[in-house]
Symmetry: C2
Subunit: 234 residues, 2 copies
Amino acid sequence: MKTAAVPSDDQIDISTQSIRDTIRDAIVDRRLAPGTKLSEADVGALFNVSRTLVRAALQALAYEGLVNVEKNRGAFVAYPSPEEARQIFATRRLIEPGILREAAKHMGPSHLQHLRQLLMEEGRLMAERGQTARRAEIKASGDFHLMLASMTGNAVMQRFMDELVARSSLVIALYGQSAISSCGHQEHDDIVTAIENGDLDRACHLMIHHIDHIEADLDMRENKGSDLREAFGL
Amino acid sequence: MKTAAVPSDDQIDISTQSIRDTIRDAIVDRRLAPGTKLSEADVGALFNVSRTLVRAALQALAYEGLVNVEKNRGAFVAYPSPEEARQIFATRRLIEPGILREAAKHMGPSHLQHLRQLLMEEGRLMAERGQTARRAEIKASGDFHLMLASMTGNAVMQRFMDELVARSSLVIALYGQSAISSCGHQEHDDIVTAIENGDLDRACHLMIHHIDHIEADLDMRENKGSDLREAFGL
DNA sequence: GCGCAAAAAATCGTATACAATTTGACCACT
DNA sequence: AGTGGTCAAATTGTATACGATTTTTTGCGC
């Protein structure tokens, strides 16, 4: 029963932050289905820590919008409503063009190379098959936007984008149709090209359309989503 | 002892959220000076709760950027560096025009009236003297921006603006020179007028200049601010 | 067999207890 | 007097304990 054989016999001091990051990765990668209950005792048992640390991690995740905590009932992996999803993408449309311009200001040749490198990795993943590859693809797609944010040198914007990308990943995993990401990759490429050419207006234009396309590919009909599924126990 | 009859004698169930809000108000109003240590035991004693709840509140505030938590040392009221301050205002310049346009989309006559009402209250406070009035003035000035955010109907933007306004208030309290706010009030008024006239371009323009003016009024020389003072035990 | 009430179990909310780390003081020593 | 080191006090980090609330189960009457 205590077969924790894999990483090493005993765990090596897992702190609140690691717990939070691990759970977040699991949520964003959709290894944890939306609506799943995250019992404090269960999670604590998995990480071999007390409920105290688990609670702290769950509260932080609640602040990021990745889990919902209901008083006296527990924490659940967030199940973003279509309305929430729209708000998330509306916010991205609002701030990402600005981030793009700000990032471009501070961008040098090495930064552009990093972006190209990321795109290559993204393309490589796209070619592969299987759920693992698809998860990595979604993740890489988000990393492109995060890298732009990091290039602004603005920690506040970076944190906002962290949250937006994480929640977007959750939404895409929930409502996404699938074939879309290929388009997304090409659009990332076009955006970088526009930046390289110094045509920021075009880059922003492309960025907005890119976000539009991501959102347009979602199938946010309620049946797939809201209460029914959760009511049936998963 | 169980006479919960009157809500005054004993405390009336102070939850984590109330603690967080109370501390935040105190920070934003600058009743708690930046750099002040927030000892878990002391705060807990003040609210008559255990350290558990205080810790939760402090962690949440740390996430909002209003307190810094240093491992094994404790929580301190944030002391935003000039660099942080610039990033905060850069972020506001980036998103507030968008919020303005988004809010204008959903705005009806009643919304405009609410804005006007807020401005009147702001003007009334401006006329008064004393530190209390000045605090209320800073708060009211922030409320204007928050009300615009709430009018977008977008909870994500609203949360972002909550954080930005709170941190801005802290920065203004720290580095602000004083006489400025009068200008700010007039600028708020002009923005509303532009919205009423349907001239959104002008409103956005005014908004950006307004944020510029707020930032320009700050005196962010390091001596007043960063490490020295904190190093000297305050 | 079905529905409902009451008890039992499970889970969360909060407080307290104990371990680990930091901070400050005191004292010996150069 | 100044410096370094060790110990004590205070503070945070984490776990555990206990009460409150919710959920499930049980048992009874119909």
